[in-house]
């Protein structure tokens, strides 16, 4: 009797203060060098404060000292998972400023490469999201398939990750024989693996219990925070620049925009954000098939590349649909061969800002999952 009383006394004196802990910057689950200052009440997250800048390489300051062509390799290093898409946005902005119309062959090549890169990005996103939830096998499946895409881009550009392949007005090198067959081979393999992944990961009961109803992001909050890409579409907003503001030749292809429908969980949770990426891979496959069928093999990819890039005084804001969302470049020209200012609106930078809003009140382990479902790349957050 007396012993029981003593235990009760100890419980009442237990510390119940909130605790502030650090996650990162060197932690595998933060997907790079991001530091999260987290306040927890027991295991419940009450506040999240992201601290970034560990990978800040002063991209915008460098741009002022580089010529327009020299900027392209730096842009590769922003979102290094989808470098072609990054380069393409910048190159399209420059072409708008200079008024260049690129040859048909180049347009098709760019679309195919961008969609291949989009698939590669989503493969990594879904793979690492599964890894955060404790599923290791899909990670290996996706990385095996991603290798096929990387081989194609390596054959074209000579690099596996940071391509430096697009040029203002064209491409750095011509296509190799057998390119179309390689692309169709990728499409076949991606479809096969995605069918497996649906059983292995997406509809897995444990995975659903971990990710459904977690980190719910309502549509109006997502828009107010400036979210884009799968994060916004997972909240049920049908917004895709390829359809809403068709650039390049996207108006020629037949494809859908998948949005989170809440088949499992509720619209805007981690599961829905993730499934959008899986469906988008299928849509990218459809675009690649159509583009491969329509693409002309004749033509000079360097026909419209200017000898010297010297745009008139002016400015342009160009945005395009990257795998992670809208990437925007605000390019200001002062009439010389070097830009006056280039501002990059990093997708991950904006998407990450919603994390403190949607992670409050969930378990600490869910915070890691929510961060994974936003799919950030720190190279783009910090620039």
């Amino acid at each position: 009797m007396s012993e029981k009383k003593r235990i009760e006394l100890e419980y009442s004196q237990l510390d119940s203060e909130r605790m502030r802990i650090n996650v990162g910057p060197q932690h595998p689950s933060t997907h790079g060098v991001l530091r999260l200052e987290v306040e927890v009440d027991g295991e419940i997250v009450t506040e999240v404060v992201p601290h970034m800048g560990y990978l800040h390489r002063s991209f915008e300051k460098y741009c002022e000292q580089l010529t327009y062509l020299q900027v392209i390799p730096y842009i590769d290093r922003m979102d290094y998972i989808a470098a072609i898409n990054n380069e393409w946005t910048y190159v399209l902005g420059m072409e708008k400023l200079l008024g260049i119309k690129v040859p048909e062959k180049v347009e098709y090549m760019r679309v195919i490469m961008a969609e291949l890169n989009r698939i590669a990005n989503h493969q990594i996103a879904v793979a690492t999201f599964g890894l955060d939830a404790g599923a290791f096998t899909p990670f290996l499946f996706f990385f095996r398939d991603r290798e096929l895409i990387i081989w194609i881009l390596e054959k074209l550009s000579g690099a596996r990750l940071l391509y430096n392949y697009l040029r203002v007005g064209g491409l750095a090198a011509d296509v190799y024989p057998g390119f179309k067959e390689d692309c169709l081979n990728v499409v076949k393999q991606v479809r096969k693996t995605n069918a497996e992944i649906m059983d292995l990961l997406i509809n897995n009961k444990i995975f659903i219990q971990r990710s459904a109803n977690v980190g719910i992001l309502p549509a109006d909050v997502a828009i107010n925070y400036g979210c884009s890409g799968p994060v916004l579409r997972g909240s049920g907003v049908k917004y895709d620049l390829r359809k809403d503001e068709p650039y390049s030749i996207y108006d020629r292809f037949d494809f859908d925009i998948p949005v989170g429908k809440g088949e499992v969980g509720v619209i805007g949770d981690c599961w829905n954000r993730n499934i959008v990426r899986v469906y988008e891979m299928e849509e990218s496959c459809r675009i690649i098939e159509q583009a491969v069928a329509q693409m002309p093999m004749e033509g000079d990819v360097k026909a419209m590349v200017p000898k010297k890039i010297k745009p008139p005084v002016g400015e342009v804001y160009f945005r395009a649909e990257n795998p992670k969302g809208d990437l925007g470049f605000y390019i200001v020209s002062n009439g010389t061969d070097k830009p006056e200012r280039i501002k990059a609106r990093g997708t991950s930078f904006v998407n990450l800002s919603v994390l403190p809003e949607i992670s409050q009140g969930y378990m600490f382990a869910d915070l890691i999952l929510i961060l994974g479902s936003i799919d950030i790349v720190l190279g783009e957050v910090d620039r």
């Binding site: 915008e60 400023l97 400036g226 907003v237 002016g314 804001y317 605000y330 200001v332 501002k343």
Partner: protein, 157 residues
Amino acid sequence: MGTNDIFDILKTEFGDYILEYKDQQPVDPYILVNPDQLFDICHTLRDKEEFQFDYLMSLSGMDLGEKLGVVYHLYSMNHKHKVVLKVSVPKEDPKVPSVERIWRSADWHEREAYDLMGIHFEGHHNLIRILCPYDWEGHPLRKDYQAPEFYHGMEVS
């Protein structure tokens, strides 16, 4: 809705606070406004039925030589139209009203513009550095910026 229509409506509502409308190729058309009424103008742009600019695409700080500027790129999800707003403030006293309470995405963008360009956004709840270390000195994106030689005893190159 084109930028000139937006300019006309804003002009009738805010009068002299809307300074000028420019449309010169290859520059995107833009509206230059007085920073004093910026918060109300942005509020109107977001909430008025025919505007509905609910999406702040980008917010960029600019060094214009004598002055500092801020450029706002807005987009409407419903109407699918865009507008560019610009303000400029003197370099000695660069104060711009914060629009963070209108678009939450402006929070980090304004911190970035403060960090790199040294523009003070009045009314921002937490205007601290975001990309540079918290104790960094100076604002690197200004054209007259001189990098310090040492930072905590480490050589800056």
